[in-house]
Amino acid sequence: MADRERSSTRPGGRVFVARTQVMDRDEVRRALVRIAHEIVERNRGLRDVVVIGIQKGGVPLAERLVAILREIEGTAVPFGTMDVAFYRDDIGMRPVLPEEVTDLPFDLTGRTVVLFDDVLFTGRTVRAALESLAERGRASAVQLAVMIDRGHRELPIRPDFVGKNLPTRRDELVEVAEDAVTIGDLIGAGKDMGTR
């Protein structure tokens, strides 16, 4: 999800300035609970379901989703994390660096994978994640859950579970935190695209 990369590789001189809060803590929680129920309903239970959070923004949300699934179904769903930096198609065009660990402690073959990311934007992160998944086994199905779908897709990718559809301008930035979703702008004309 491009927003996440933009926010995480924020050039030195620039800062994210929040303009509007679009979801509060309760709304984020309710959206997660609803998505959890939708996942159970769609898959008629949680048999063979695994949840994978996309680094970095998708991971804490995916962890919460797993906890909610355990509450409502009594099932401990296997959980993994994935960093897709090395699978991106824009390497060399912009700063691309791995953010966090990939940890998939299970075989994907025959599983139903629920990929979770915080914001769905161009779809390029999800494309990269699908390529990485394909190298690790043949999942029987891959489903996509996102907290925010902000539009502006550049690839034919559609989410299965959405916390909130949020119309945005292309140059806006959406930030998903544990207790709020905010929309804002990247301010400042920093030149340093370095990662430090």
Partner: protein, 365 residues
């Protein structure tokens, strides 16, 4: 890492070689200061802007921050190496040429494996099978290879400074894989990574910030060793306390400007060491009568069982390879658990993946 039988003659006298050491430490290569340099870039939505070409010629190009960044990046590639398919498409469509004007097997294979695991294409040039033996100049050789369209050139050359000259002639990123008695930066990076990995395992997964508090001895032919030079720079940049141990004939003429201490007495040094780093004794150099004999060297400077027992219990034993058992290290010590030699080789691929990705793929150019 020198291949056996490699001549390291650089055409400079020992004294000149000594001076050259200090010069290399002082100067660095500012143009290639990749890691810390600010970049005029634009947002991904605005579009692609051709990045400046970056090189890795010396550890001084990276500095402390650059070294630490390579370490972090290496962690990600270490995870890749554990996968059923230990390969990622990160450098798909890029071409890496390895240009080895001096015999080497392991460094070249390590770089080529790293490039292939990043899905880059690899072009191999070795002096023995090339037009170089027909008298083609280095400049013509590298310009020809560059003209085929490459993104990085990994070069080993018997002359110190050759990779720096090559940066004037080619448009590709140049990576120094060992130049004369100057530097071998990726060896130092993989050594730092191996030490970091060993310390992390010892501390239940807590990654140390750097090497401060560690006392490291580098033992052997310091004077002619590009590995020693790069490792001194890297270990010192990370805060280690470095001591060089060598007979006077194998110690540089001057250590001025080096952040090290030096001694000829290995035995009195052993007890305080956290890491002992052994260099290969290049027996091809014995003709210069720098050593009375290999047996004598082993007796005074070899890591024997008795010396290994005098080390701290958790001291790490390292060697860049190829090891000559019975000279710088005795066979039983080479196989002790404290010996990290095989980890060094394994980490070589991982760290070189990080270097290639850092220069070609991270976009932080």
């Amino acid at each position: 890492m020198r291949a056996p039988g490699t001549s390291t003659s650089t055409g400079v006298s020992p004294d000149e070689a000594g001076n050259e050491i200090g010069a290399a430490w002082a100067s660095g290569v500012p143009e290639a200061a990749g890691a810390g340099s600010p970049v005029a870039g634009e947002d991904l939505l605005v579009g692609h802007r051709a990045p400046a070409v970056r090189h890795l010629l010396s550890i001084a190009d990276l500095g402390r921050d650059g070294i630490l960044e390579i370490m972090r990046l290496s962690d990600a590639f270490a995870e890749v190496a554990e996968r059923p398919i230990p390969k990622v498409p990160a450098l798909r469509g890029r071409t890496v040429a390895t240009v080895f004007m001096e015999p080497s097997t392991r460094t070249r294979l390590s770089f080529e494996t790293a490039a292939k695991r990043l899905s880059a294409d690899v072009m191999t040039f070795t002096a023995s099978t090339s037009a170089a033996v027909k008298g083609e100049s280095l400049r013509d050789t590298v310009e020809t290879i560059d003209a085929m369209g490459i993104d990085a050139m990994v070069i080993r050359h018997h002359a110190s400074g050759a990779p720096l000259r090559v940066t004037d002639w080619v448009g590709a990123s140049v990576i120094n894989a060992g130049d004369g008695t100057h530097e071998h930066p990726t060896q130092a990076l993989l050594d730092c990574y191996t030490i970091r990995e060993a310390l992390t395992a010892r501390r239940d997964g807590a990654v140390p910030a750097d090497m401060s508090g560690l006392r490291v001895a580098i033992v052997g032919d310091i004077k002619h060793s590009r590995v020693a030079r790069s490792n001194v720079l890297a270990f010192a940049a990370l805060g280690a306390d470095v001591v060089l141990v060598a007979p006077p004939t194998l110690m540089p003429a001057s250590l001025e400007g080096w952040p090290v201490t030096a001694t000829g007495d290995l035995d009195s040094t052993l007890g305080g060491l956290d890491v002992i780093y052994l260099l290969r004794i290049q027996s091809e150099r014995l003709g210069e009568v720098l050593l009375p004999s290999l047996d004598e060297y082993h007796w005074r400077y070899g890591l024997t069982r008795a010396r290994a027992d005098a080390l701290k219990r958790d001291a790490l034993i390292m060697h860049p390879g190829p090891m000559i058992r019975g000279v710088e290290i005795s066979p039983e010590v080479a196989d002790m658990p404290a010996s990290l030699v095989t980890r060094q080789v394994r980490n070589g691929v991982v760290v070189r993946m990080a270097v290639l990705f850092h220069l070609l793929g991270s976009g932080v150019m």
